[in-house]
């Protein structure tokens, strides 16, 4: 059990040491996951909104598939991207395998269903009056839909923080398509796996703590951005 205490200590020491390799690994983690998050957000929020609002045959099915893909196993996502980007795969010429780009692609594949599915649910819980009020004030369809998204912010921010958590913590896919190459595609999560495999539990915990601190900071950033646009932060009062 003292391994945990030692892990916390090791984490602090690791941070203080400013180990250049660790810094590089951390920055790569950030770069990969944030890029994937932004991409998943830019694709997922509109897609989710579209699916929530547009009536067409097959809509239900697509929604259910998206919900299901929220449970896409990272290894499977990794395997699929691997096969596509492999030398023998259709996009083999791009030579993306074992690069950060491949990791980003795999993570977008994982993050997109999360953002789209959760955004769809958030938008679906809105009422008709939002749209009506917007268009009657002269909003274009796009403006009105943006207003619906704005009113759904609670759920959409939840979608983003959830996806952020998933991506920054994810290892199966980045391991497979990134390859955990030291100095090139090694990120925090793959480092943790490597350290546990080597039996360095406290170091693994230490890196894990760094990762959680990072996740915490990104989360605060997202919430800060939210608060800057939405000052009202009231919740139900239980009297």
């Amino acid at each position: 059990m003292d391994v945990i205490g030692q892990g916390v200590k090791e984490g602090i020491l690791l941070i203080l040491s400013l180990d250049p390799e660790l810094i590089q690994v951390t920055l790569l983690s950030l770069q990969v996951s944030l890029t994937a998050l932004v991409a998943a957000g830019l694709l997922g929020i509109p897609a989710g909104t579209f699916l929530a609002l547009k009536n067409f045959t097959g809509r239900k099915l697509i929604l259910n598939i998206i919900y299901t893909l929220m449970g896409l196993p990272p290894v499977l996502a990794g395997l699929i991207v691997f096969l596509v980007l492999s030398n023998r795969g259709p996009l083999g010429e791009w030579q993306l395998l074992f690069t950060p780009s491949a990791m980003i692609i795999a993570q977008v594949l994982l993050g997109f269903p999360l953002v789209a599915g959760l955004s769809a649910r958030a938008v679906m819980s809105q009422r008709q009056e939002v749209y009506d009020t917007a268009v009657m004030l002269g909003a274009t369809r796009t403006q009105a839909v943006l207003s619906i998204i704005r009113e759904s912010r609670m759920g959409i921010i939840a979608a983003l923080t959830t996806a952020m958590g998933r991506l920054i913590a994810e290892v199966g896919a980045v391991m497979m398509v990134g390859g955990n190459i030291q100095g090139k595609t090694r990120v925090l999560t793959t480092s943790i796996v490597l350290e546990t495999r080597m039996g360095h539990d406290s170091r693994a915990l230490g890196i894990g703590i760094i990762l959680l601190i990072l996740a915490f900071m990104i989360m605060l950033l997202i919430l800060k951005l939210e608060k800057r646009s939405f000052k009202d932060d009231s919740t139900i009062q239980i009297v």
Binding site: L97, M176, G179, I181, V193, G199
Partner: protein
């Protein structure tokens, strides 16, 4: 694998019923990924009545599990660390079980020009000199330690863009090496099990430096009361028995035309 489901029936009432039939075996991924354990464990269970629970991790992690008493018996390949483990009192009854060997594999084009050699040190030196892509397990595993010892013998500190430390298991490293068309050090079992899928070829083999002995160790029951020492002993006795050794010698012959492991229990 069919027999495995019904060992009791097969052996009739001659199967002993041990007090604590659950035996945790921590081993390296190579014994599992090669299929060896799937092949021989049913025999163990049928003969002794134990149920072997195989946990496949790296040698390092396996010994870590032994140290914390989370496994009862270890089947690993990391000779120096094994001795240390026994010396520290964590393990007892260490026995040699078998060995297999490593090969250096690489792309058919062979950019380092080392194909057909049997000198591991020279081969790595040339790979380094030609800065050909090389993949290292980089995970403190037995294979990784073996690789480092060869670099040491060659008096080379491998660094640079061509040297990729991937920190993954053997099969994953093989897959990556194939994609990157690089060289890597691999154990014969994993190589043979996967070579159908990939394009890399055997480049260097047969150097004595490349031999890879496996040992079996019981976890010291004095450290933790709930260690299944009886089971560990049964396992050790079974695996070094002549019949099992013969089984090991047979394993792989029908599929690959050669055995993957060479038994060497004394």
């Amino acid at each position: 694998q069919k027999e495995e489901a019904e060992p009791q029936q097969q052996a009739g009432d001659s199967v002993p019923t041990p007090e604590n039939p659950q035996l945790k075996l921590a081993t390296t991924t190579s014994t599992q990924d090669s299929g060896l354990l799937d092949e021989i464990i049913p025999d163990f269970e049928a003969k002794t009545g134990y149920k072997a629970e195989v946990i496949a991790v790296g040698s390092g992690a396996a010994m870590e599990m032994g140290e914390s008493g989370d496994a009862d018996v270890l089947l690993v390949h990391s000779r120096a660390a094994e001795d240390e483990f026994v010396a520290a009192g964590f393990g007892i009854d260490r026995h040699d079980v078998m060995y297999n060997d490593f090969l250096i594999i690489g792309p058919a084009a062979d950019p380092a020009g080392i194909k057909g050699g049997d000198d591991a040190v020279a081969a790595l030196t040339q790979i380094s000199d030609s800065k050909s892509v090389f993949l290292s397990r980089g995970d403190d595993s037995g294979t990784h330690k073996k690789e480092l010892s060869i670099w040491k013998a060659a008096e080379i500190e491998p660094t640079g863009d061509w040297y990729n430390s991937v920190g993954q298991g053997m099969a994953d490293t093989y897959r990556m090496a194939d994609e990157m068309q690089g060289y890597t050090l691999i154990d014969r079992a994993t190589y043979l099990a996967n070579k159908e899928n990939y394009s890399l070829e055997s480049i260097v083999e047969g150097d004595e430096l490349l031999f890879n002995p496996y040992g079996v160790i019981a976890v010291n029951p004095e450290k933790y009361p709930n260690i299944n020492y009886d089971g560990a002993t049964a396992f050790i006795q079974w695996i070094i028995s002549d019949e099992t050794q013969a089984l090991i010698a047979e394993f792989g012959k029908d599929q690959y035309g050669q055995s993957l492991f060479i038994p060497d229990a004394k």
